[in-house]
Amino acid sequence: MLVIENLSADIGSKSILKSLSLTVNAGEVHAIMGPNGAGKSTLAKLLAGHEDYLVTGGTVSYQGEDLLALAPEVRARSGVFLSFQYPVEIPGVSNTTLLKAAVNAKLKHEGKPEMDAGAFLAFVKQKVKQVSMEPKMLQRGVNEGFSGGEKKRNEILQMLVMEPTLMLLDETDSGLDIDALKVVADGINALRSPATATVLVTHYQRLLDYVKPDFVHVLAGGRIVKSGGPELALELEEKGYGWLEQSPADA
C-alpha cells in the first residue's frame, strides 16, 4: 500500500530524512519509534503533504500512485489520514462544519453523492459516542479550548468519520491518561482491517499494548536503523535508544 524508497528530505537547510525506506502492506500495523529529533514527525507530516519539507531524493508510492505528486487534500480524499501531534485550534470553524466538509470532500472524490444533513448527523453522533465525547463539543470551534486529551479524541473522531485507508498517527498517545489512551486504541482497532494499514509514530511502548503492531522500526538520524517484531518495542522500553544511536557511517 505504501512504499517509501530512499526518501531524503530537508527543512530549510537542515537535512532531516536520509535515504529512508519503508514498505507497509494492507492489513499491517507498523510502529515507528525513536529518540526526539530523529525525523519521526517529519515523516508523518511529509506523507500528509506538509509543504515545509523539501523532498531531495527518493520516492513514495501509495496504492501504486506517486504520493508526493498529490496535494494534501487529494491525499486525504484518497484515504491518507494524519492524526496530528499538535492539533490546531481553529476558532470560528465548528467541529461539525469541518467534519461535514471532510466527509463530503471524500464522497465527492469517490464520485458518490454528498450526505444529507440528517444522515450526516446520525453518522457523526454514533462516532462521537465511540470516542466518548460530549455531543455539544461538535458545536465548538475546532479544538478551541480543548484539553490535550480532548484534542486527541477529536483527531480520532475525525479519523473514524473519514474512514481512511492509511492511518498515520503522530504521537497521538503522548500525554494521554489511560482512558483517553484506550479511546485512541479502540479507534485505531475499529478501523483496522485487511484493507487498511496503520503507521504509529510513538515514543512509548504503552500504546502498543492496546494496538498490537506487526512491525516495529527504530528511526534515528533520519533513517530506519533497526526493524523487528513487537518484541523490539519491549527491548527499546528496557534499554532506551542509546545502543542504537550510532553515526550513519557505522550503521
Binding site: G49, I90, V93, L98, A101, A105
Partner: protein, 379 residues
C-alpha cells in the same frame, strides 16, 4: 449635462427657496475630495461629470427575516438640523422623505428601515429621525438593499438618533448595495444617562460607500457598543469614519471591527475616540482587525484616541493578519481544497462580528451571504 445642471432643474417644488439655497451651498463646496480633513481617503469629484435624475417611487424590496416590521417613510418636516456631513447640503436640497419615529416601551419585534433605489442613473435622498423614550428598548434594522438596474445610482441618508435615559437601541446596519451603487450615510447619535446604543454593521458591497458615525455619550452611564464587518470583493470601496465623543464621566465605548478585502476592493476605517475635559472614568476600547485576501486589495485602518481628561482607561489597536498556514494545512489534510480552507478560515475571522447579530434569521442569512461572497472571491 453634468450633475449640477441636471440637479438644479429637478429640485423638488415644495420649500423651493430652502432647497435652492441648500443646493447652491453644495454646488459651491462641490463633491468631497481628500482636501477635506474628514475625507482623507476618498475622492468623489468624478461624480460631478455624471448626471442623476430623482428616482420615481418604486416598490420597495421585501425584507422578510425575523418578522421585522417596516417603518414607513413619511413626508419630512420643513425644519431640518444641519450636520457636518459633506453631503448634508445635497441631502437637504432633495430629501423629501424619511422615517420619523419615537419608540416608547419595549418593542419585541425588530423595526426595519429599507433604503432602496430603483432605476438607472437615479438618485434618492432620505433623512430619518429616530428617538427612544426613557427606558425604551428596540432593535432597528437599517437595510441598504441592492439596486435593481444595471446603471449607477446615488443614495444619501442622514439618520439622527436620540436615546433618552435608560433606553437601549440595537441598530443593525446591513449594507449590500450593488456594484454600481454610490451610498453615503451620516449617523448622528446622542446617548443620555445609562442608555446604550449597540450597533452591528455589515458592509458587503457598493461601488463607492461612505459612512459617518458620530456618537455623543452625553451623560454618565451612557454606553456605545459597536461591532462591524466589512467583507468586500470586486471593486467595492467602503470608507467609514466614526467619531465617539465621551462628553460625560463614567461612559463606556467598545468598538470592534473586522475588515476583509478581496479582489481589488478597498476598506477604510478611521475610528476616533475623543475624551472631553471632565469625562473622568471613561472606559473605551477600539479594536480593528484586518485581513487582505489579494495583492490588489487595500485596507486602511486607523484607530485614533484624543484624551483631554484624567483618570480614564482607553485602549486602541489595529492588527493585520494573514491566514494561519498551520490551520490551512490542517483543513487541507482533512480533504478541503486550498480555496475551501481559505474561505472557511476567512469566514471564521468574520464570525466574531456575525456572532454579534442578535436576530437569528438575519444571522443565518448573513453567514450564508458572507460564505458565498468569500467562496466566490477565493483564488
Amino acid at each position: 449635462m453634468n450633475f449640477f445642471d441636471s440637479c438644479r432643474n429637478s429640485l423638488p417644488q415644495d420649500q423651493h427657496a430652502q432647497r435652492v439655497d441648500a443646493f447652491a451651498r453644495f454646488e459651491a463646496a462641490g463633491w468631497p475630495t481628500p482636501a477635506l480633513e474628514t475625507w482623507h481617503y476618498s475622492d468623489w469629484s468624478s461624480l460631478a461629470e455624471k448626471s442623476f435624475t430623482v428616482a420615481k417611487p418604486a416598490q420597495e424590496p421585501l425584507f422578510t427575516l425575523d418578522r421585522a416590521q417596516p417603518l414607513p417613510l413619511l413626508a419630512l418636516d420643513p425644519v431640518q438640523v444641519e450636520t457636518p456631513f459633506a453631503l448634508d447640503a445635497l441631502n437637504r436640497a432633495f430629501a423629501k422623505q424619511g422615517v420619523d419615529k419615537t419608540i416608547d416601551g419595549v418593542a419585541n419585534i425588530p423595526f426595519l428601515i429599507t433604503q432602496a433605489l430603483g432605476g438607472e442613473q437615479t438618485m434618492r435622498h432620505l433623512r430619518h429621525r429616530l428617538a427612544l423614550s426613557v427606558g425604551a428598548k428596540a432593535t432597528v434594522v437599517l437595510w441598504d438593499a441592492p439596486g435593481t438596474g444595471a446603471g449607477e445610482t446615488l443614495l444619501t441618508a442622514v439618520l439622527t438618533l436620540t436615546l433618552a435615559a435608560g433606553s437601549h437601541l440595537t441598530l443593525i446596519r446591513v449594507q449590500e448595495a450593488d456594484a454600481k451603487a454610490t451610498r453615503a450615510l451620516h449617523l448622528k447619535a446622542q446617548v443620555a444617562a445609562d442608555a446604550t446604543l449597540e450597533m452591528v454593521q455589515l458592509d458587503l458591497g457598493g461601488a463607492r460607500v461612505r459612512q459617518e458615525i458620530e456618537v455623543t455619550l452625553a451623560e454618565p452611564g451612557a454606553r456605545f457598543e459597536q461591532a462591524g464587518l466589512a467583507a468586500l470583493s470586486g471593486k467595492s470601496r467602503v470608507d467609514q469614519r466614526s467619531h465617539i465623543w465621551h462628553a460625560a464621566p463614567h461612559c463606556t465605548s467598545r468598538s470592534s471591527a473586522r475588515l476583509i478585502a478581496a479582489g481589488s476592493s478597498r476598506a477604510i476605517l478611521n475610528a476616533k475616540v475623543q475624551v472631553q475635559p471632565g469625562a473622568a472614568k471613561t472606559d473605551s476600547e477600539t479594536r480593528i482587525a484586518s485581513l487582505l485576501l489579494s495583492d490588489k486589495a487595500e485596507i486602511d485602518a486607523k484607530p485614533e484616541l484624543e484624551i483631554y481628561a484624567d483618570d480614564v482607561q482607553c485602549a486602541h489597536g489595529a492588527t493585520f493578519g494573514q491566514l494561519d498556514e498551520d490551520a490551512a494545512f490542517y483543513l487541507r489534510s482533512r480533504g478541503l481544497s486550498a480555496a475551501e480552507a481559505q474561505a472557511l478560515l476567512t469566514q471564521a475571522f468574520a464570525q466574531a462580528a456575525l456572532d454579534r447579530l442578535p436576530l437569528p434569521g438575519l444571522k443565518a442569512w448573513a453567514e450564508q451571504r458572507v460564505s458565498t461572497l468569500l467562496m466566490a472571491s477565493a483564488p
